[in-house]
C-alpha cells in the first residue's frame, strides 16, 4: 500500500503543476495523513479484541499469522519474482522449532521466536543457493517438491517431531497483572509481531535493497549490468522471506497449541500463494487482505454450500482475480491514492486561494 501511494505521489509531482511548494506541502500532507491513518488502524487493532468474543479474537489472531507468512512470500514472489510453492515447509520449520524448544527444552515461548527466525533464515539461504539456478516455473517445481515432502519428512524424524502424533503444547500464559486472558494476550503478541514485520518489510523494500530486488525481477540482465549482485540479493530475498514465514509458523504453534505433520500439507503452501495473489503480490498491505482470505473464505464457502465448498472457494478466487487482477491492494491502492491526492490538491488549492484573497 505504502509503495503504491508513494509511487503515485512522486509520479504526480510534475503534473501538480502550479508550484514546487505546493507539491511539497502535498507530499508532506500525504505523509502526515498516512501516519495518522496508520495510527488510527493500530488503535483500532488494539481496541478490537475487547469488543469481540474469544473465538473471534482467536480467528483474527490466525488472520495476522497468515498475514505475516504471506508478507514473507510477497518479498520473494512479489518483489523479487521468484515463485515459491513451498512456503508451507518453512512455516512448518518455524512451528516445529518453537514446539521442540518449548516442549523438550522448556524454553519460554517468546524466546523461541528469534530462534525460529534464525533457523528459518538459515534454511531459506541454504535453499536459496541451489534455487538460484532455477528460474520461474522450475523454481516453482523445486519448491513444490519441498511442500509435498514436508509431512513425510516430519514423520521420518519422529524422535524430534513426535511423528504422526505431533507435539502437544501448553498455551502461553499471559503475564500476571495485565488482566488479559490467553486468547487476547496471544492476539497482542501476534499483533506486535505483525507490526514489526510490516515495518521491517517497509524499510527493506522501500530502500536500496527493495529497488535492487525489483530491478532483478523486472530485468535481471540490466540489473546485473548496473552492478547489482543478483546472486546475493536473490539468496537474501529467499532468507528474509522464509524468516518471516518461519516466525509466522512459530506463532501458529503457540496459538494452536499443537503441531502435527498433517498441519502442513501442500494446501497450506498453495493457500499462501493464493492469499498473496488476492491481496496484491507486490504490496505490504496486501498481506493482511491475503490473511483475511485464507482464514475466512473457506469457512464462508462451507456456510454457503456443504456439498461443494471448494467449488465456491475457486469461484471466489476467480472473481477476485477477474475484478482485481493486481490483487485487492494492488488494484485499489493506486485508485485510492489518486482519490486522496485529488481531494487534497483541491482543498490545498482552495486554502491557497483563500490565503491569497486574505492577503490582498
Amino acid at each position: 500500500m505504502n509503495e503504491d501511494a508513494e509511487g503515485a505521489a512522486t509520479a504526480g509531482k510534475p503534473l501538480g503543476g502550479s508550484s514546487v511548494t505546493l507539491a511539497g506541502t502535498d507530499s508532506w500532507y500525504i505523509g502526515y495523513r498516512r501516519w495518522l491513518a496508520a495510527l488510527a488502524l493500530i488503535a483500532l487493532a488494539i481496541a478490537l479484541p475487547f469488543a469481540l468474543s474469544n473465538y473471534h479474537v482467536f480467528e483474527l489472531t490466525l488472520v495476522m499469522i497468515y498475514a505475516i507468512a504471506v508478507l514473507g512470500l510477497n518479498i520473494l514472489t512479489g518483489y523479487n519474482g521468484q515463485i515459491s510453492l513451498g512456503h508451507g515447509s518453512f512455516f512448518a520449520a518455524g512451528a516445529y522449532t518453537a514446539a521442540i524448544l518449548m516442549h523438550r527444552y522448556g524454553v519460554p515461548y517468546w524466546a523461541t521466536l528469534p530462534a525460529a527466525a534464525l533457523i528459518c533464515f538459515a534454511l531459506g539461504v541454504l535453499f536459496g543457493l541451489p534455487a538460484l539456478r532455477f528460474e520461474g516455473p522450475y523454481l516453482a517445481l523445486v519448491t513444490l517438491a519441498l511442500a509435498v515432502a514436508t509431512p513425510q519428512m516430519l514423520k521420518y524424524f519422529d524422535t524430534w517431531t513426535g511423528g504422526q502424533q505431533g507435539i502437544n503444547l501448553v498455551k502461553p500464559l499471559p503475564p500476571p497483572g495485565l488482566g488479559l486472558d490467553r486468547d487476547r494476550w496471544l492476539y497482542f503478541v501476534v499483533l506486535a509481531a505483525l507490526l514489526i514485520a510490516m515495518r521491517v518489510a517497509a524499510n527493506v523494500l522501500h530502500g536500496r535493497s527493495g529497488r535492487a530486488l525489483i530491478a532483478i525481477r523486472d530485468h535481471p540482465i540490466a540489473a546485473t549490468a548496473m552492478g547489482i549482485n543478483a546472486a546475493r540479493y536473490k539468496t537474501l530475498a529467499f532468507g528474509t522471506s522464509t524468516l518471516f514465514t518461519g516466525v509466522a509458523g512459530a506463532l501458529s504453534a503457540m496459538v494452536i497449541g499443537f503441531v502435527a505433520p498433517e498441519s502442513f500439507s501442500l494446501f497450506l503452501s498453495l493457500s499462501f500463494l493464493v492469499g498473496s495473489a488476492i491481496g496484491g503480490i507486490a504490496t505490504i498491505g496486501g498481506a493482511l487482505v491475503g490473511g483475511l482470505f485464507i482464514e475466512f473464505v473457506p469457512n464462508l464457502a462451507n456456510d454457503i454450500s456443504d456439498a461443494a465448498p471448494w467449488a465456491i472457494y475457486g469461484l471466489a478466487m476467480l472473481l477476485f482475480m477477474y475484478a482485481m487482477p493486481r490483487g485487492v491492494v494492488g488494484s485499489l491502492g493506486p485508485w485510492l491514492a489518486q482519490l486522496t491526492r485529488y481531494v487534497l490538491e483541491n482543498s490545498s488549492r482552495q486554502k491557497m486561494q483563500t490565503e491569497k484573497g486574505r492577503l490582498s
Binding site: Y156, G163, G166, D181, F267, P309
Partner: protein, 403 residues
C-alpha cells in the same frame, strides 16, 4: 465467558434448589440443550487426503435425521452440526472452538482421525466439554484420570494385538513369531500390545522389522523375517504395505500363519492388489458386520440398515463398511442421550457414557457389547477372528476380548 458463567451460576442455583428438595418438572441443561433441542458438534474430513472416511459423518447425520423424524430423544430434536476439517489439525482446533464457543454445542461427537483429536484433547478437557467416541484407534482415549472428558469407542490397536496374542497362546503355543510394523505410534501400539498379551512368552517373538511409510517396498524386511525361521507372522501395516507383504510372502514360498491388522483387512484396498489367491488363509479380527458378507444378507439387522441407507440418500455406499461404523457410532450416541433422560448437563453426559452396561448394537457382531465404568473409558473390548477363504472373510471361533 459471561454467558458461560451465567449458565454455570444458574446451573448451580438449579442444583441448590434441587438439593433443597424441590423437584423440577423441566430438565437440567448444559449449553446447547433445551426442552426442544440437543446440539451436537462434529468435524470430519469431507475433503482432503482422508475424505473416504467422510461417509462416517454422513451416516451419523442421516441416523440423527431419522431419529428426529421419529420424534427425537425424549421429545428433543438433535441438531447435528458437522464441519469439514480436511484432516488438518489447526482447522480442527478452529472449527471445534467455533462449535463450542459460538454454536454452543452440548458435546463433541465422533471427530475423525488421531491428529485432529489429539489437537483438541486438552482444549475440550480444560473447558469440560465431552469428547465422545472419537473415530480413531489410538490407545490414549481411555485415560479417565487425566482426561475425564474424553471417551474412545472401538477396540484400540493394543486390544486387537492382545487378541492375536491370546490366539497364539491357545492355538500355537510353540510359535516362533515374526512382526512387521509401521514405524510410528500405530505400528508400535500393535507391537507393544502383542508383547503385553504374550506376557512371559514374549521371547517367542524371534524377529521384528519396521518400515517407514516413505519406503518403496517392504520386500527386504519380509526376506529378513523369513530368515529368522518364524512360523507365525503379524503384520501391523496400512493397506499398501500389507498388500506388498502378502504378495512377497507368497512369492518366496514362505507359509507362516499370517495375522493381519484390521486396518489393512479390506478386500478391495489390500487383498485384491496383492492377489486374492495369495491371501488365502490370512487371519484378521473385526467387530462389526461387513455389509458385503453374504451371511448377514437375510438378517433383520442388515435389512434395517439397508433400508436406512436407501431411505437417506446413501444407497451409493452400501458396500462401504465405514457406513456401518458410522451407523453404530450414532446409535451409541443416541443410547447415551436416552440414558441421560432430562438431565442434559455435560457432567451427566459423561456419567451416563461411563455407565454403559452390555449395550448391544444391531450391526456389531452378535455377542459384542459395550461396557464402561468410571475408570474404564474403553467401550468396546471384544473382537472375533476371521479367516480369508479366497473370496470373503469367514468368522471363526468365539468372541475374544483383550485389555
Amino acid at each position: 465467558m459471561t454467558v458461560k458463567k451465567a449458565i454455570a451460576a444458574s446451573l448451580s442455583a438449579a442444583s441448590l434448589v434441587l438439593l433443597g428438595g424441590l423437584a423440577f418438572a423441566a430438565g437440567q441443561y448444559g449449553p446447547g440443550a433445551t426442552d426442544t433441542e440437543i446440539k451436537i458438534g462434529n468435524t470430519m474430513p469431507y475433503s482432503g487426503p482422508a475424505s473416504s472416511y467422510g461417509i462416517i459423518g454422513k451416516a451419523d447425520a442421516a441416523y440423527f435425521a431419522m431419529v428426529n423424524e421419529q420424534g427425537g430423544i425424549n421429545g428433543r430434536k438433535i441438531n447435528f452440526i458437522s464441519r469439514d476439517d480436511s484432516y488438518s489439525p489447526p482447522k480442527t482446533v478452529e472449527l471445534v472452538r467455533q462449535l463450542v464457543e459460538q454454536d454452543q454445542v452440548l458435546l463433541m461427537f465422533n471427530t475423525l482421525g488421531t491428529p485432529p483429536n489429539v489437537a483438541i484433547h486438552a482444549y475440550l478437557n480444560d473447558n469440560k466439554v465431552p469428547q465422545l467416541f472419537p473415530a480413531t484407534g489410538a490407545n490414549q482415549w481411555n485415560d479417565p484420570k487425566h482426561f475425564p472428558w474424553t471417551m474412545g469407542w472401538f477396540p484400540n490397536y493394543g486390544i486387537e494385538a492382545h487378541i492375536y496374542a491370546n490366539y497364539i497362546l491357545k492355538n500355537l503355543p510353540d510359535a516362533k513369531i515374526a512382526v512387521l510394523y509401521q514405524n510410528d505410534d500405530f505400528g508400535k501400539d500393535y507391537l507393544n500390545g502383542l508383547k503385553a498379551g504374550l506376557g512371559a512368552k514374549a521371547s517367542q517373538i524371534v524377529a521384528t522389522q519396521s518400515y517407514e511409510t516413505t519406503d518403496p517396498t517392504v520386500d527386504s524386511q519380509i526376506v529378513a523375517l523369513q530368515g529368522s525361521g518364524a512360523d507365525v507372522m503379524m503384520t501391523a501395516a496400512i493397506p499398501k504395505f500389507a498388500a506388498q507383504a502378502i504378495r512377497k510372502i507368497y512369492d518366496i514360498g514362505w507359509k507362516p500363519t499370517h495375522l493381519l491388522s484390521s486396518v489393512a483387512n479390506s478386500v478391495g484396498t489390500a487383498l485384491k492388489p496383492a492377489g486374492l489367491e495369495k491371501a488365502v488363509g490370512i487371519i484378521s479380527a473385526t467387530y462389526y458386520r461387513d455389509p458385503t458378507d453374504p451371511q448377514w444378507k437375510d438378517t433383520p439387522e442388515y435389512k434395517e440398515w439397508l433400508a436406512f441407507m436407501n431411505n437417506h440418500g446413501l444407497s451409493g455406499s452400501i458396500t462401504d463398511s465405514q457406513a456401518v461404523v458410522g451407523y453404530s457410532y450414532a446409535q451409541t450416541m443416541v443410547a447415551v442421550l436416552k440414558m441421560c433422560g432430562d438431565n442434559l448437563t455435560r457432567e451427566n453426559i459423561m456419567k451416563q457414557a461411563a455407565s454403559m452396561h452390555n449395550l448391544s448394537l444391531p450391526m456389531l457382531l452378535p455377542g459384542i457389547t459395550l461396557n464402561t465404568s468410571a475408570d474404564d473409558y474403553q467401550p468396546m473390548k471384544q473382537m472375533q477372528l476371521e479367516k480369508f477363504d479366497g473370496t470373503t472373510w469367514k468368522l471363526f471361533g468365539e468372541i475374544m476380548s483383550g485389555t
